[in-house]
């Protein structure tokens, strides 16, 4: 299994979403008084923001995108589905990737 930094992976995933989608997400986070940069330190907050701003269905869609993204990197994606939903899920994902 390839050793990958989970935070770096998330950052790359986030950038891969493309400018139009990122702009919408960031705008919605700011509109609710949040700080978009916070999600790079706490990736498990990302889908919470998306769900609040754009509905559960879009959060689920982005979670699916994340799983696909992780697979493309040829790393173990088994914990990716839960990674962005909770701190515990993120912790397990980090452990699975060999981090701490």
């Amino acid at each position: 299994m390839k050793l990958v930094d989970a935070y770096q992976l998330f950052r790359e995933f986030y950038m891969s979403l493309g400018v139009p989608l990122r702009a919408v997400v960031e705008f919605k986070i700011r509109q609710r008084g949040g700080n978009p940069g916070e999600v790079f330190e706490k990736p498990w907050l990302f889908l919470r923001y998306v769900e609040a701003a754009m509905g559960r269905h879009n959060a689920e869609l982005i979670s699916m995108l994340f799983v696909e993204f992780v697979r493309r990197y040829r790393v173990d994606a088994s914990a990716a589905a839960e990674a962005l939903w909770s701190e515990e899920g993120w912790r397990r994902f980090v452990q699975r990737l060999g981090g701490v």
Partner: protein, 392 residues
């Protein structure tokens, strides 16, 4: 409405033509629980449209998806939501966002167990989805002489109305209304109004010969779903004939009066009856909601009498006259229409809009057209004992 949306329906057309409103309204008629999946409009806007159509928002689950490049993943997301919501009807708004492959179209066709209304851009009419669909509806909006028309054309059907059939439709707070084109073949056989004859009457010998020559017609009147036009001259007597007829019908039944200006009520008062006119300026008739409001005010009438159609004709042309008449008879099924044109000639195009057409001149009344075969075509107009009498 259900006739149009059978099985998997693909609705396509340019932006603003009314596709989404048409689909929302149809879906609400087809099932209790509707799943709306959209790829273009935001959920708030769609919910606004639902409320704007007078529909119950609690019956809709609205999912507005963000735009992503991975269309296959988007399709997966839609399927997951469908399983979760388990709706009676599905609307897929913006089908161009999904993979445009034969496989995707085929799986979408087989996936949903209930009716599906898919909405796409103009180009989707030639796509794999179009080949798979049970029904193809092309929606368009156009403006002619300043008036707005929305049209739905049945391009393909396996179960509904014949391909090629075209209908106008309207969108308002009262929902979506399909406007059916009237034809003489829909003329009813039940009399809905007979004039009292107090102010305008046929001479006794004329009435007798009419009864003899027209089996089943004891006294001339209006049949359900009929359309009668009177092309009247500018002479005061022609106006009095028109107003007298209106009053005579009002003696016996409820008549809704729509007019482009306040004039028939004044003449009718001289003839001894009170008319409550619903005045709709011709300039306002370019939009449908004005017609909706007007029709609401005359709901429940057996006859709708229209005055000032010459203004509608001059402003928008005969197409709008036909549209107004079709609108009224679609909104008020079975109602008889009595249409009055003042100072214009009955052209062949206008004649086709009616089953019976009269011309009133100061000294003559002429039957220009009669679907039922009016036996006497020209009558003299005389005034006798305070009444206007038509004599042979």
């Amino acid at each position: 409405m259900k006739d149009f949306f059978q099985g998997f329906t693909l609705v396509y057309g340019p932006p603003g033509s009314g596709k989404t409103s048409l689909a929302l309204y149809a879906a609400a008629q087809m099932g209790g629980r509707v799943l709306y999946v959209g790829f273009y409009e935001t959920g708030d806007k769609v919910r606004g449209k639902i409320e704007g159509l007078g529909l119950d928002p609690s019956r809709f689950v609205v999912l507005d998806y963000v735009s992503i490049s991975d269309a296959d993943l988007l399709l997966n997301g839609v399927v997951e939501q469908y399983v979760k919501v388990s709706p009676d009807v599905v609307i897929l708004d913006g089908i161009n966002a999904l993979p445009q492959s034969r496989e995707a179209a085929s799986s979408m066709y087989r996936l949903f167990s209930g009716p599906v209304i898919a909405i796409g851009e103009e180009g989707v009419g030639g796509s794999h989805f179009a080949y798979m669909a049970d029904t193809l509806l092309e929606v368009a909006q156009f403006f002619h002489r300043g008036a707005r028309y929305r049209r739905v054309r049945v391009v393909k059907t396996r179960l509904g109305p014949a391909p090629g059939a075209e209908f106008y439709f309207t969108i308002s707070r009262r929902g979506v209304r399909i406007i059916r084109r009237w034809s003489q073949s829909e003329l009813g056989d039940r009399s809905v109004a007979v004039a009292s004859g107090r102010r305008v009457a046929f001479a006794e010998d004329v009435a007798k010969s009419l009864a003899e020559l027209m089996p089943g017609v004891r006294r001339p009147g209006l049949l359900n779903n009929s359309r009668v036009a009177a092309f009247i001259c500018e002479h005061p007597r022609c106006l009095r004939i028109s107003a007298g007829y209106l009053c005579d019908y009002m003696d016996n039944v409820r008549v809704g009066v729509l007019s482009t200006s306040r004039f028939i009520g004044l003449v009718a008062r001289q003839m001894g009856c009170d008319v409550e006119e619903v005045v709709v300026p011709a300039s306002a008739l370019a939009e449908d909601y004005v017609l909706e409001e007007a029709v609401e005010k005359v709901a429940g009438a057996s006859v709708v009498s229209l005055y000032g159609l010459e203004e509608v004709l001059a402003m928008y042309g005969p197409e709008r006259v036909a549209y107004v008449l079709d609108f009224i008879q679609s909104a008020l099924p079975g109602v008889a229409v009595l249409a009055t044109f003042r100072g214009v000639e009955p052209t062949p195009e206008l004649l086709n809009l009616f089953n019976t057409v009269w011309r009133y001149l100061p000294d003559r009344a002429v039957v220009v057209k009669s679907a039922l075969g009016w036996p006497i075509h020209e009558l003299r107009v005389v005034e006798e004992g305070g009444r206007i009498v038509f004599r042979a």
